[in-house]
Symmetry: C2
Subunit: 345 residues, 2 copies
């Protein structure tokens, strides 16, 4: 690099600080720009009653995936699905997808076809049109860049900044399984490194692997919220771990929060693996990442309906900002909720 | 990679063949999907009289840029501008931009700020809102992924597939300068490799460097076409070289074409450098790439107005498909127009 200017390490700012510093002072000039940087997707007004949603994600080899154990078809599927998940997190519906690939010479046409098979399968499952595809050479690893377009009625969009004191904090599905799946794959990789036949025994752990390698987006949750006539006050996709995402909602909504360790939804297989790896189960659930579940808040007044939502757990409630963000342990002890440091995933 | 299936090298299919093979059989399910894979941008209908345009580009270190001689601010500017250029190539107007960065540890906050300075400056110049920004870690090189949203009145969109027999073939600006700029930078890099003070003398060659390092998008051409009440029958952004782009238009429009070597617009500095490097000037202009000029076709009936367009040269005309795509040399000799092989840039 041709710079000798002062050097500030990214880690010293944290993820919030970095984005704030980079985007400071940006004000939209188009009145169609409804929502910019700082949510799961940008929102653009193209008609009186509907908003267009746009989100983009970059998946890099060695950071977001490891081709030693990631089938290319699954990788294509996951690339599409994590983008759909960002649109659902706005309470929207994904409609179009564009994908650009950076490929090194080690990839053959059949490999690219496998990636596209996964992308196309995800588009079939979620009813999305693949409208853009580009491939270019890469000198290093495989790079996937995806952009998803979606839409939402103007009065149904759910942002990160609408949570209020006393709102219920809800989470779909279960947490930490994708992280445990990753630990399992990494362990097997270490064990089998150097051998040509890589076929470890994952019997009984399929759920963990599937959560890591082939996640789904929670369209069903968005649909059941609509069926129950419930509109979250805030919502976010859990990609970096529950703790980090809840802190995002709290910061953007200027509120505090209080969640309970014994309410965290955790699958049996996740708990067994945590035991086997001698890992703290709550930490895996709070900071594991890659869950792609939805975290949302609902007014206390709809408690009865919220409790009946299938596949949704109420894990705590929003508080006044001065009370901070608190995790209440199984023993009743309180600790400040903390996200792991900037990992840039 | 965990595949042992038959292996087809990408080069054997060519760029057309690869995209065709990957996107075979894709049919849109949303009636909002107006235009999918195969043009400069996708088009989506969100209102009765306007279309939303979406384009995405991936810029990879070592393939699309070399940080030895590319200032980070220029890189940010170029990343934005090449996306705007794709929107102009649809006769549209860019309105929103999203950028995702993959960064390795060698980058400090100041470096990312320099990239964002360039992006924001480009947004200021072209009147575009930056609505999405994301950074993630990269184990290898710097990766930039940008997505641009634009719009165009439904009856003014210009695709690649509308060229007709006898249409005029027009090109804006001049060609080959960015390619010569790249050759110049690469030569200086070889000369100065290993020295710490990298400050070669580029006096008199600023234009070539600027074309490579800090290109502009041709908003002015789109505006002067509108002012002259001219609507191209087909248009494309010249990023991979005139020959390749013209072959795209011919293939998509099912026509042939005939262009004249002595009509190719070439700047004086480009010609001088080609002489110095002992390179074929026509080859540089036809296949150099990175020009980001607009190539478009206009009906023969508007010849007088086309000829008066500032900064636009008529370089030939569209023919019936059976006549093929022909380059007429300075000596009157005819050769088939050929794009260079799949380079994946």
């Amino acid at each position: 690099m041709n710079t000798l200017s002062p050097r500030t390490e990214i880690a010293t700012l944290g993820e919030f600080g970095l984005i704030d510093r980079l985007t400071h002072g940006i004000t939209p000039r188009h009145d169609t720009t409804i929502l910019g940087i700082g949510d799961d997707a940008a929102a653009i007004r193209h008609s009186a009653d509907r908003l267009t949603l746009v989100t983009t994600d970059l998946l890099l080899e060695g950071v977001h995936f490891d081709l030693t154990y990631t089938p290319l078809k699954h990788l294509g599927y996951k690339t599409a699905v994590v983008n759909f998940s960002d649109i659902y997190a706005m309470n929207g519906r994904p409609t179009q997808l564009l994908v650009a690939l950076g490929l090194s010479k080690r990839f053959a046409v059949e490999d690219i076809e496998a990636i596209y098979d996964g992308i196309r399968h995800a588009c079939d499952v979620y009813g999305v049109d693949l409208v853009g595809g580009d491939t270019s050479a890469s000198l290093t690893g495989l790079t996937l860049s995806a952009t998803c377009i979606g839409d939402v009625p103007s009065d149904r969009i759910v942002r990160r900044d609408g949570a209020h004191d006393t709102d219920l904090i809800c989470v779909s599905g279960d947490l930490g399984a994708a992280y445990m799946g990753l630990q399992l794959l990494e362990r097997e990789k270490r064990v089998f490194r150097g051998e040509s036949d890589f076929a470890p025994d994952f019997a009984g752990r399929e759920y963990l692997l599937e959560r890591q390698l082939r996640p789904e987006a929670r369209r069903d949750i968005v649909e059941s919220l609509a069926s129950a006539d419930l509109l979250p006050t805030a919502m976010i996709d859990i990609s970096d771990g529950l703790a980090s995402e809840l802190l995002h909602i709290a910061a953007r909504s200027h509120v505090g929060c209080r969640i309970y360790e014994d309410r965290l939804p955790i699958d049996y297989q996740t708990a067994v693996m945590a035991e086997e790896f001698n890992m703290n189960l709550a930490t895996a659930a709070l900071n594991g990442g890659d869950d792609h579940e939805l975290l949302f808040t609902l007014p206390l007044s709809v408690y009865d309906r919220a409790e009946r939502l299938p596949g949704v757990r109420i894990i705590g409630h929003i508080t006044r900002p001065e009370l901070g963000c608190i995790l209440v342990g199984r023993d009743g002890g309180e600790v400040p909720l903390q996200a792991q440091g900037w990992q840039g995933r």
